[in-house]
């Protein structure tokens, strides 16, 4: 993301920075249902922050509370240091891009973008110049006079973006902004969004259930489940160092191996996981008790597969190929242990398929080194 001179953009690591948005022990209940459960979170200026989770996890409620359409049952929300409790949606320095785009069907593209500016009572020529700028930014100058139903879905998405950015909000909320677009267009638009975010310097908070989208666009991701935040970190940390089994399982493909831990020296643990299998040796910072139940998470691409027993790797297991998923550039092998566990291994298809080294029912070795995976407490 935006680089600050030579240093990497990471205000969350800097204790001197004050966050733009602060959720302070926020709880939101709808009747008996707790949508947000005692949640605290800081989001910094110029961030592209993603709220990621399955539907019903509370991410949309978080966004609607920022916009002012819902009020917290308990706790406080600050934007720019100001308590948002008593502030109505139309008074907040926040604009939202709606999932349905919510373009006004009776107004032209131009009038849609000008809508917020007109409410502020700005002078006419200023509004005109600003709308022109916005139209240029989203490359829709030619479509200014059209009504929303006369343009394509991708163009509508860009009008919605331009409209929500026209008032130069401190914070832009994007509710599943690319959900209605097809896969190809979605990819292009993701990069466009990042470009615009960088150019305008606006803080973006995006709600999405698509982990790839969150990984692509966000500076930090909050993975949510049942009204709680499971982990907040940069995309690479979320992927490489998930803090719990939920995050490991939600983001990408993963082997989750259940076992019992035995600490075996400095930052090292041995995990017994199946009968007649060599225990897994793994690096970890966690302080674990002997006999504690743990999960060992390892990504399939970090698991090697070979016919002969590998000699230079600390962790290995022998099994039988149950299934092969051919993905073109990659193949994922499902290798079943004699005790029933399945370990997925992924390897790049550097050779033509006819010369593939492994086939169904074949006996193979899977292997990985001690730093490849993460040890997670239950």
């Amino acid at each position: 993301m935006a680089a600050n001179g030579a240093s990497v953009f990471a205000p969350w690591d800097d204790p001197d920075q004050t966050p733009l948005i602060r959720f302070e022990n926020v709880t939101k209940r709808f009747g008996d249902f707790t949508a947000i459960d005692n949640l605290s979170l800081d989001i910094y200026a110029r961030e592209f922050f993603a709220l990621l989770g399955p539907s019903g996890c509370g991410k949309t409620t978080m966004m609607r509370m920022l916009a002012g359409f819902e009020t917290p049952t308990e706790g406080k929300i600050y934007i720019g240091g100001q308590d948002m409790g008593p502030i109505a949606p139309n008074q907040r320095p926040v604009n939202m891009m709606f999932q349905s785009y919510a373009l006004f069907p009776h107004l032209s593209v131009y009038e849609n973008i000008a809508f917020g500016l007109r409410r502020d009572g700005q002078p006419k020529d200023k509004i005109e110049a600003r709308v022109e700028d916005m139209l240029r930014m989203v490359r829709l100058q030619k479509f200014a006079k059209r009504k929303p139903h006369q343009i394509s879905g991708g163009q509508r998405q860009r009008v919605a973006l331009a409209r929500s950015l026209a008032k130069e909000p401190k914070l832009l909320l994007l509710d599943e902004p690319l959900g209605a677009l097809d896969a190809k267009l979605r990819e292009d638009t993701q990069f466009e969004l990042m470009d615009i975010q960088e150019k305008t310097g606006t803080t973006f908070v995006i709600v999405t259930h698509d982990q790839e989208e969150a990984m692509t666009v966000a500076s930090r991701i909050a993975v949510m489940d049942e009204g709680r935040i499971m982990q907040v970190a940069t995309p690479d940390r979320i992927y490489e160092f998930p803090e719990n089994a939920y995050v490991a399982d939600f983001i990408g493909d993963v082997n989750l191996i259940e076992g019992t831990a035995t600490p075996s020296g400095e930052d090292e643990v041995t995990i017994t996981w199946a009968e007649n299998q060599q225990p897994i040796r793994a690096k970890t910072q966690r302080k674990l008790a002997t006999g504690q139940k743990v999960f060992y998470a390892i990504r399939p691409e970090k698991v090697g597969i070979s016919k002969e027993e590998p000699t230079d790797v600390v962790n290995k297991a022998k099994g039988r190929i149950l299934d092969i998923a051919y993905l073109g550039n990659l193949s994922t092998y499902h290798v079943q242990m004699p005790t029933g566990e399945i370990i997925k291994a992924q390897s790049a298809n550097t050779r033509r398929i006819a010369r593939r080294p492994f086939t169904w029912e074949e006996e193979v070795w899977v292997s990985w080194n001690g730093t490849g995976g993460s040890v997670l407490e239950d």
Binding site: V94, A102, F104, F115, R119, R163
Partner: protein, 296 residues
């Protein structure tokens, strides 16, 4: 061929049930009053052949239409009908819009029930419902008794047999025709539009005027036509609730037809009424079509 049959069906319907009756009425309006059964001449005698047909046509004239312009009763009745229909339509809109708005904003599990309540009056006869208004509005009626009982008035109000009673009758009778199109326009409106308007700096009230109101305009126009078109020719309501001073063309038509037994003049009145109505009907159709295109 199938396609042709499919299209022919509605056209045959219109031909048989609209165009043919209209031509019969038009023919009568061009005829002369006569003491016979039926009470006009000429009668078409097909057995007389070609010459009979020619004679038949030669006897048709526009005398009755000229008569309509000579007696000021008729154009006064047309104007008064027009005025009553316009005012009544506006009043129906004033009453109907908030009802439709309330229905559309009600929790979705309530909406079918509310819709049912709007349609329910249609289950009883129109005539009975108008008669019941006589029971409510007359000097000894429920309304006056209630107002006297509360002490708001000391003398009964003369509502019955006035134009006010006609307005009440029309608003009551045609209210569902106003509510339903407005409701359907409001109901399909996406709630996030109002949130977007608020998000962009509108107050609730401003959002209503800038978003909800214009988006329900097509529904309002449709509702207004659906009330205006039938109420301009209304006969039952003015004759039951209105007094002798309430002049409406439907009543004139009825008297011409049944009291004077002047079928030709009555038919001429009907033909002119239809001509007047053709304009709003065309406008109504155009509104519907525009609406469909906008949604397309």
């Amino acid at each position: 061929m199938r396609r042709f049959t499919l299209i022919a069906l509605p056209y045959l319907w219109l031909l048989g049930l609209f165009l043919v009756p209209f031509l019969i009425v038009l023919k009568i309006s061009l005829s002369d009053l006569n003491l016979s059964i039926p009470p006009y001449m000429p009668q078409l005698d097909i057995s007389a052949g070609w010459s009979g047909l020619m004679e038949f046509f030669s006897e048709l004239d526009f005398e009755n239409f000229v008569w309509l312009t000579e007696d000021d009763l008729y154009w006064k009745a047309y104007l008064s009908s027009l005025k009553i229909a316009v005012v009544a339509t506006f009043l129906t809109l004033l009453v109907g819009y908030p009802v439709a708005y309330g229905m559309a904003r009600a929790p979705s599990e309530w909406r079918p029930t509310l819709m049912m309540l709007v349609i329910l009056p249609f289950w009883s006869s129109f005539l009975i419902r108008v008669y019941s208004w006589m029971g409510i509005l007359s000097n000894e009626g429920f309304l006056n008794q209630f107002l006297l009982w509360t002490g708001i008035i000391s003398e009964p109000l003369q509502i019955m047999n006035t134009t006010t009673a006609v307005y009440i009758g029309i608003v009551y009778t045609y209210l569902p025709f106003m509510i339903l199109p407005i409701y359907s326009a409001l109901e399909k409106m996406d709630d996030s539009l109002l949130e977007a308007a608020e998000d962009l700096g509108c107050s609730r009230l401003k959002a209503f005027w800038l978003i909800t109101f214009p988006l329900s305009r097509a529904g309002m126009i449709a509702g207004c036509f659906l009330v205006f078109i039938p109420s301009i020719g209304e006969f039952v309501i003015p004759s039951l609730l209105g007094g002798s001073d309430t002049l409406m063309i439907g009543k004139v038509l009825w008297e011409e037809f049944f009291n004077n037994r002047d079928w030709p003049v009555a038919s001429a009145v009907a033909v002119v009424l239809l001509m007047i109505l053709v304009i709003p009907i065309i406008l109504f159709q155009r509104n519907e079509q525009k609406q469909r295109e906008a949604e397309g």
